[in-house]
């Protein structure tokens, strides 16, 4: 049985170590003109990806959401390295998938049942949650709720650590 308790302190330290290493690397890539808005924006993207990647790597493949996130990050960087044609194909499949899902939601909302109005709202909310949690589209309800709880714990740890780092650098 998987241990439900998240060992918060070791997750925090694993994330902190990885994220700091990534930050040092990003900082080392600084060119001479490092204060142009474009540079800052690029660095923002790299830092955000590094934060997500560090967190997903600290959890590794123990969770469905972390596996999905790592896969997403890897395929995104692969796409950025190769041509843009492949990303165009990817987006068209995603939008058609979303369109199908939206259509299903719309049909459900058109048929409110007598006792099940709250149940219908529940299912719609669960679909919304699926879009927020990485890898959520493929999960059944039980797994989705379980993964969401873990994902929220990790996100709060991530925010906590990043806040401390920002405070330290703003001194």
């Amino acid at each position: 049985m998987n241990p439900q308790h998240l060992n918060a302190s070791s997750l925090k330290s694993r994330f902190t170590r990885r994220f700091l290493r990534a930050l040092t690397k990003i900082n080392a890539q600084k060119p001479i003109s490092s204060s142009s808005p474009r540079e800052i924006f690029q660095r923002y993207g790299r830092i955000k990806a590094a934060a997500d990647k560090s967190m997903a790597n600290s959890v590794r493949s123990r969770r469905t959401w972390s596996r999905a996130m790592l896969w997403k990050l890897r395929s995104r960087s692969y796409r950025q390295a190769s041509s843009g044609r492949r990303s165009a194909v990817k987006t068209s499949t995603t939008t058609s998938h979303q369109a199908i899902r939206k259509k299903t939601n719309h049909e459900k909302e058109n048929k409110p049942t007598k006792t099940g109005e709250d149940q219908v709202g529940f299912v719609v909310q669960a679909d919304e949650l699926r879009e927020l949690v990485p890898g959520g589209e493929a999960m059944d309800l039980c797994n989705l709720l379980d993964e969401t709880a873990h994902y929220i714990k990790c996100l709060t740890t991530q925010v906590q650590v990043m806040k401390k780092i920002v405070d330290f650098y703003s001194l």
Partner: protein, 92 residues
């Protein structure tokens, strides 16, 4: 046709025990700061899910904002591995 589909979807939900689901939902409720104090029978399941979505979105926004501030701070300071070691010791 669509009624059959929505009904089978609902029966899928009830096949997993209700007890399991309510357990997981109350666990989620404890993680969300807005709903933490309230009793689990006061808050409906769809409300918990809704607040979860809102909470996750706000956490994503915070991460974005912090990454933004970090990118600007890194522009102005000269960081090196010594500072990283200091932070590491601070946070452990």
């Amino acid at each position: 046709m669509s009624s059959r589909r929505s009904r089978s979807r609902q029966s899928d939900v009830s096949r997993i025990t209700d007890h399991q689901i309510t357990d997981l939902i109350s666990k989620l409720q404890q993680l969300i700061p807005e709903l933490r104090g309230r009793r689990s029978d006061e808050v409906s399941a769809s409300k918990v899910l809704q607040e979860t979505c809102n909470y996750i979105r706000s956490l994503h926004r915070e991460v974005d904002d912090l990454s933004d501030r970090l990118s600007q701070l890194l522009a102005s300071t000269d960081t090196d591995s010594a500072q990283a070691a200091i932070i590491r010791s601070l946070l452990m």
